[in-house]
């Protein structure tokens, strides 16, 4: 799969974080920017963080142009990734639906559908009877907040979470990238405004550039370099049911009746919950959040009341004030951050890695990620995606 080398003394680039985004960054740095002397350091096991813990929903139907560009760049990469990496991503474009439950939702979503269309995305508005056709088991009228319509993106879908981490890792490894697991980044060393390297559990490793992609732990690491990031780390939970024969063939998300669900190829219902309202690094959230989610599932799909939760787990997501990520340089030369993905980073994995690699290689952002800078929290040019992030923060 990949080698487990000892860290060298010095690298051109150290990528901190062996999740999909980090491994992808290394892959694109090697493939598109000719940088080969790269290490990816991971404190646990590859893909063991949010990559392996999320509900794998992929879509690009975000409201603002900046986001739509970024996430659609990612979908386009997803569409060819199995072939490119010669590893099956199981990217299943079965469509993603966002349900509207009140007049406000309808207005908000119709606006999003229209904006998406102008941005060249395939989002469309569905009336309730069209939803019912796609998901016959959905309870659309006999519930507290009836289903009044949906924004639907057919190109959206789900993919296999481990596959993207492993796929990137294998191909990066083949190009000479050192993938080092069980190697915890403890602090980032800088001197006179320039990055020097990373102190790790396997010793100090020197580097010209350090790219931090450590999701929930990013702000902790940034602090060691004296950089403050506008991030809060929150628990985010998910769960799966026992497997049953196919019953739901698209991804359905709802904000007002808060739950999102898809059915995996194995037959499990994969269900995403909301974030907890407090900072935590425990990878565990409150049971009340699970209850909130499951009762929404039972409300929307009464027959699922007869099913059972098989496993639940939590991850640590780093949330930005405007629910958009940061893919940016910072005041320390040679130090880059790709973080703040909140509840929806998985879908962006290849796109984020691709533009981040560009940013690291050229010390300049790609035009797609230029708006996702840190300055926006000073000048006020936020990319407020609270509506489209579809998770009630």
């Amino acid at each position: 799969m990949w080698k487990s080398p000892r860290p060298k003394k010095t690298y051109d680039v150290i990528v901190v974080g062996g999740g999909g985004h980090g491994l992808g960054t290394a892959y694109y740095l090697a493939k598109e920017h000719g940088i080969k002397n790269i290490a990816v350091i991971e404190k646990g096991w590859l893909g063991g963080g949010n990559t392996g813990r999320n509900t794998t929903i992929i879509r690009s139907n975000y409201l603002w142009n900046e986001s739509a560009n970024l996430y659609d760049h990612s979908i386009k990469l997803w569409e060819n990734l199995s072939q490119e990496l010669n590893y099956n991503m199981m990217f299943s474009q079965r469509g993603v639906m966002n349900l509207a439950h009140n007049e406000h939702d309808i207005k908000e979503m119709k606006r999003r559908v229209s904006a998406n269309r102008l941005n060249g995305l395939d989002t469309q508005w569905l009336e309730t009877k069209e939803i019912k056709k796609l998901v016959p088991i959905m309870n659309t009228d006999n519930l507290r907040y009836p289903v009044l319509g949906a924004a639907f993106q057919p190109r959206g879908g789900v993919a296999r979470h481990d596959a993207i981490a492993w796929g990137f890792a294998m191909r990066a490894d083949e190009m000479g990238v050192d993938i080092i697991q069980n190697c915890e980044a403890q602090s980032i060393k800088t001197r006179s405004g320039k990055v020097e390297g990373v102190k790790t559990s396997k010793g100090f490793i020197r580097a010209k550039k350090v790219a931090v992609v450590a999701s929930g732990h990013t702000s902790v690491l940034a602090k060691t370099a004296g950089v403050r990031l506008p991030l809060q780390s929150r628990p985010l939970q998910a769960l799966v049911s026992e497997p049953i024969k196919p019953i739901i063939n698209t991804v359905v998300m709802s904000n007002a009746v808060h739950a999102y669900v898809s059915q995996s190829d194995k037959g499990e219902l994969v269900i995403g919950a909301g974030t907890d309202g407090y900072n935590s690094f425990t990878q565990r959230g409150g049971y009340d959040v699970i209850e909130e989610t499951v009762r929404a599932i039972v409300e929307l799909y009464p027959i699922f009341g007869k099913m059972k939760m098989l496993r639940q787990w939590g991850g640590i997501v780093d949330i930005c004030p405007d629910a958009s990520p940061i893919i940016s340089k910072c005041e320390i030369k040679g130090l880059y951050f790709n973080c703040g993905w909140g509840t929806g980073g998985f879908k962006a994995t290849p796109g984020s890695a691709n533009v981040f690699a560009h940013t690291v290689a050229n010390d300049e952002p790609h035009k797609i990620n230029a708006p996702f800078n840190l300055e926006r929290f000073s000048d006020g040019r936020l990319i407020d995606e609270h509506g489209a992030a579809a998770v009630a923060h």
Binding site: R117, I244, V298, K306
Partner: protein, 996 residues
């Protein structure tokens, strides 16, 4: 060979016969039987087909850990994936096997078994890829259809309930150690909850004959006595049929109680109770789980865990086979052997992997005495048979294979403390070389483990252990003498799998029965470079089935550690994730779903609205009239046009009770209000009111409302209906945390005032009739003033204000007078053609006047300047919330999106809300490259008073685009609608109607 009843067992009611069907065929069992024990009684061995290869599977265990015997309950809404080893039968129950087609005996899917090289570890990742598009169209649909276990449930409406508990001590498990602990806590100061997953107490005492006597009593008598003592105690409550599934932070536990265990479900009652327990201490006495050993075809129906076999004999009174083969690597199988011999049967062979000197003289003598064929230092190579075990191959002296015949093979690979709950609580475990397993080490919460879950396998010493561990609770001293039938020296040899002799595609040695993972898959994955147990788990799906690998996960660590040449403790375990066993969604939801999903809030006028054909809209939790149907065939459009027109012609009234209302009072109230709102309140005259804006610190508009000033120390503010709780919370937050020096109190009075908005040219006439004592003339009661006066013994407040642009009043009255006053207004209003209107008309009328709605024109990215609300900003104020943000470079930009009015050039056209403003007349379909747009249409209505569409939009540099021709996209075509940018005030720009 066939099953026999154990006449000595008395736990099953053999006088109560129960009939049920399995795959359509009728069988009989006894009351208390599980599906599994009843089927074993009927010699039914083939129960299911496996997940991937569709191999025939039988009953492997006797409990929650079952990986194979998973069935569908047809008469319970087709409930999928029920465990046959747990679910009790009742008269008329209908059970089907799963994952087979066309029948269990002849399953087409079993061809997968022969194609198995394709389905080896990680096959998903490596195959089924190209050519492009094949995955989506061909491979994935096939995989999806063959995967999955049960069929989906059928129509169902859940009725489970929740029960909360607050206690001092929870004891999980009422086996030997749990019962001892409970007995010691009888009549202490602690509130204790004793939870037992079975429908009876006793655990191991009833499942085996490992303990012979307690205090010279038959164990059954001791259990009965203990149960009686607990029941008459004042402080201990027992919950049976209650399985603890989750151990959350701060000693919060979830347990699921089956209210209909062994009974047909009464659908009018709650079938499950989910117990939510908050405790101070948790005593885990939840025992252990036996593990298996991997050998060739270790999945054939007829292979069963040894202690499960024992449990069927003692607990269920069925001897599944009188002459099985026993295969063990440890000392716990002695009691099974003795049980069989005591009943007059004997195994075909007793195969022990241990050396002779480890086995112990006592057992050797016993075997000899009873003339039992006996093999030490031996192992089972595999077994064969047609959909069941027929021949068993014993490997003796390393290479010699002996074949024996039996239909059952009892296996014990050792026992694991059931650490699932302990690790959920985040306790640390450690590896025990002697027990060859993980056991609890350091608890993270207030957790105490006792009995076999703590790694204490010696029943004689259980009481000493409990005395020791519970001493800090100062429990009662009781006399305990435990006499065992077992050996008190647990002894085990490490053995995870045996060598595979035969090579055929059908021969497999499984490590995960549920997910059809073989030991070969596991090894292959390691060879491919997956050397981390979490990767192996994900790559092979090992231990990810519904049983979470309860009987096999340690075995896989054993196998992997051997390949990696590491200690098992170095390999580590995968994370045990809650719940302990699959947990019903219906139970988790409880009653907080369907009609109770979210509270409905109703105004005091609600029933009047219903009687007057109101159609309601959900606004937060509130039910608000959206529009009123004059007659049943009236459409929404017709109703809204009628309501809007009539309001401007005569008068209309809206139930505005949902508006948030906050009373603000204190010495520093004025200063506080000046800080909270953008508006200046200092120069505002008493008894006047003002439209006011609230921002976030980011400078974006958060809420709006009307502020009434009684004097500098007393204000009442209204908020939007949805924003009320947040505004109050923000005010409290600033007062308590930021400005504690301000002497101000705020109270919510939303529910205290039923509120009506009456507007239209006739509203003054109507008001004068209703409140005869008030002078409503313009001079005495000008725009944006308010009055408080007596109304029928209570206080009414009337404010001259309007959200429609017409002459209007807001009436605030205590709720007990609300409906009466509303009716009274109609009584007087009817002659003036007063019309009730709903929120849609409200929105239309305000749009005609150019008033904004928070959440419609604003979306969290709009500043007051963007809405041309500069006049509402107290620029001379030193500070207010959000002030500084308004001068940041981006918020100060001149080309920000600004509010404008939009009208179609062709007055017959209609603009859709949410569509975008562009400079092009046509758009391609589909759009390939992004099209620049200026902004979006935030509101759009057909104005009945102007008789054409009016719209509001937020567009880039809107203020400078007045009079410009632009286009609006549409949802139905590529041709856009030509429009003109105009002022958003469409009616009465001079405010004549408002102020006259």
């Amino acid at each position: 060979m066939s099953a026999l009843d154990n006449k000595k067992s008395s736990y099953i009611k053999k006088n109560k016969k129960v009939s049920f069907t399995f795959d359509g065929k009728k069988y009989y069992g006894y009351k208390g039987d599980t599906i599994a024990s009843a089927l074993l009684r009927n010699n039914v061995r083939l129960i299911a087909r496996s997940f991937k290869y569709h191999r025939p599977r039988g009953i492997y265990t006797c409990g929650i850990e079952e990986p194979n015997a998973i069935v569908q309950i047809l008469n319970e809404h087709n409930e999928p994936n029920a465990r046959a080893t747990v679910k009790q039968i009742y008269e008329g129950m209908k059970v089907d096997s799963q994952n087979r087609w066309p029948s269990l005996n002849l399953d087409i899917g079993s061809i997968n078994n022969l194609l198995s090289p394709m389905f080896s570890a990680g096959f998903y990742y490596k195959t089924f890829m190209g050519p492009k598009g094949f995955w989506k169209k061909i491979y994935e649909p096939i995989i999806r259809r063959t995967a999955g276990l049960g069929k989906p449930p059928k129509e169902f409406r859940s009725k489970s309930i929740h029960q909360n508990h607050n206690v001092d001590i929870v004891i999980v498990g009422a086996g030997l150690s749990g019962l001892i602990a409970a007995r010691k806590l009888i009549d202490t100061e602690y509130d204790v909850l004793l939870l037992e997953q079975d429908s009876f107490l006793g655990g191991v005492l009833k499942n085996s004959n490992k303990v012979e006597q307690i205090n010279n009593q038959e164990v059954n008598k001791w259990i009965k006595e203990t149960e009686r003592l607990i029941k008459i105690s004042t402080n201990i409550k027992i919950l049976k049929n209650s399985l603890v599934t989750s151990y959350n932070f701060t000693n919060h536990l979830i347990a699921l109680e089956d209210k209909f265990a062994g009974k047909a479900i009464d659908t009018s009652k709650s079938e499950l109770t989910l117990h939510k327990i908050r405790t101070t201490h948790t005593i885990l006495a939840n025992g252990h789980i036996e593990r298996f050993i991997s050998f060739r075809n270790n999945d054939l129906p007829g292979v069963m865990l040894a202690s499960s076999f024992e449990k069927y004999i003692h607990r269920y009174g069925v001897i599944p086979e009188t002459n099985p083969v026993i295969f063990t690597n440890n000392s716990t199988t002695v009691t099974l052997l003795k049980s069989l011999v005591d009943l007059g049967h004997k195994p075909v062979a007793y195969v022990d992997a241990r050396d002779k000197n480890k086995i112990g003289k006592k057992l050797l003598t016993y075997l000899k005495k009873n003339n039992i064929p006996f093999y030490f230092n031996a192992e089972i190579e595999g077994c064969d048979g047609n959909k069941k075990v027929e021949t068993i191959s014993i490997r003796k002296n390393k290479n010699k294979i002996i074949k024996v015949k039996s239909s059952m093979l009892c296996v014990s690979g050792g026992i694991n403390p059931d650490i699932h709950l302990f690790t959920q609580s985040k306790g640390l475990v450690k590896w025990d070389d002697k027990l060859i397993t993980f056991k609890p080490d350091v608890p993270f919460q207030n957790t105490i483990t006792i009995g076999s879950v703590s790694g204490n396998y010696n029943y004689e010493k259980t009481h000493d252990e409990i005395n020791n561990k519970l001493s800090f609770l100062k429990p009662k001293n009781i006399e305990m003498k435990i006499k065992i039938n077992d050996t008190n020296n647990f002894n085990i040899k490490e053995l995870w799998e045996t060598r595979h002799e035969k090579k055929s595609n059908w021969s497999k040695s499984f490590i995960d029965l549920h997910n059809d993972v073989t030991t070969k898959d596991l090894k292959q994955a390691v060879v491919e470079g997956f050397d981390r147990i979490e990767h192996l788990k994900r790559f092979t799906t090992n231990s990810m089935g519904t049983d979470q690998g309860k009987i096999s996960s340690i075995n896989s660590l054993g196998i992997v550690s051997k390949i990696l040449k590491k200690e098992i403790s170095e390999v580590g375990t995968t994370t045990y994730r809650p719940p302990y066993a699959p947990l019903s969604f219906s139970a988790i939801a409880g009653r907080n779903t369907y009609e109770f999903y979210d509270p409905q809030r109703k105004t005091p006028i609600h029933n009047w609205h219903i009687n007057n054909k109101a159609i309601f809209e959900d606004v937060g939790q509130w039910k608000r009239p959206w529009y009123f149907k004059e007659h049943d065939s009236e459409t929404m459009h017709q109703a809204v046009q009628r309501e809007s027109k009539q309001t401007r012609q005569t008068a209309g009234i809206l139930d505005g009770s949902t508006l948030g209302k906050i009373e603000i009072k204190g010495k520093d109230a004025l200063e506080f209000m000046n800080l909270m709102y953008t508006n200046p309140f200092t120069k505002m005259k008493p008894m006047t009111s003002r439209y006011a804006l609230m921002l976030g610190e980011d400078g974006m508009i958060k809420d709006d409302g009307i502020v009434c000033k009684f004097n500098d120390k007393h204000f009442i503010a209204t908020t939007t209906s949805g924003g009320a709780p947040k505004v109050l919370a923000d005010m409290e937050e600033y007062l308590q945390t930021e400005w504690p020096h301000l002497q101000v109190y705020v109270n919510s009075i939303t529910e205290q005032f039923t509120t009506f908005n009456i507007s239209g040219p006739k509203s003054r006439d109507i008001m004068s009739k209703v409140f005869t004592e008030v002078d409503f003339s313009n001079e005495n009661f000008p725009f944006m003033t308010f009055k408080v006066f007596n109304y029928k013994g209570t206080e009414a407040r009337i404010m001259r204000a309007s959200f429609t642009g017409e002459l209007g009043y807001e009436i605030y009255i205590t709720p007990n007078h609300g409906l009466e006053l509303w009716k009274r207004i109609f009584h007087h209003g009817n002659v003036f053609d007063l019309v009730p209107y709903g929120t849609e008309t409200m929105h239309l009328l305000r749009a005609e006047k150019g008033y904004v709605v928070i959440g419609q024109e604003t979306d969290g990215t709009v500043t007051p300047i963007d809405l041309n609300f500069n006049w509402m900003i107290g620029k001379k104020k030193k500070d207010f919330i959000g002030k500084r943000s308004l001068t940041r470079s981006d918020t100060a930009r001149e080309d920000r999106k600004q509010l404008v009015g939009i009208v179609p050039l062709d007055k017959s056209e209609f603009i859709e809300e949410g569509q975008h403003v562009v400079e092009r007349e046509r758009l391609p379909n589909p759009i390939k490259t992004p099209v620049e747009y200026l902004g979006h249409v935030s509101s759009s209505y057909h104005s009945p008073n102007l008789n054409h569409c009016i719209a509001m939009a937020m567009i880039k540099g809107g203020n400078k685009l007045m009079g410009k021709k632009l286009f609006i996209s549409s949802s139905y075509g590529t041709k856009n609608i030509a429009v003109e940018v105009v002022s958003p005030v469409f009616i009465d720009p001079e405010n004549k109607r408002l102020t006259s």
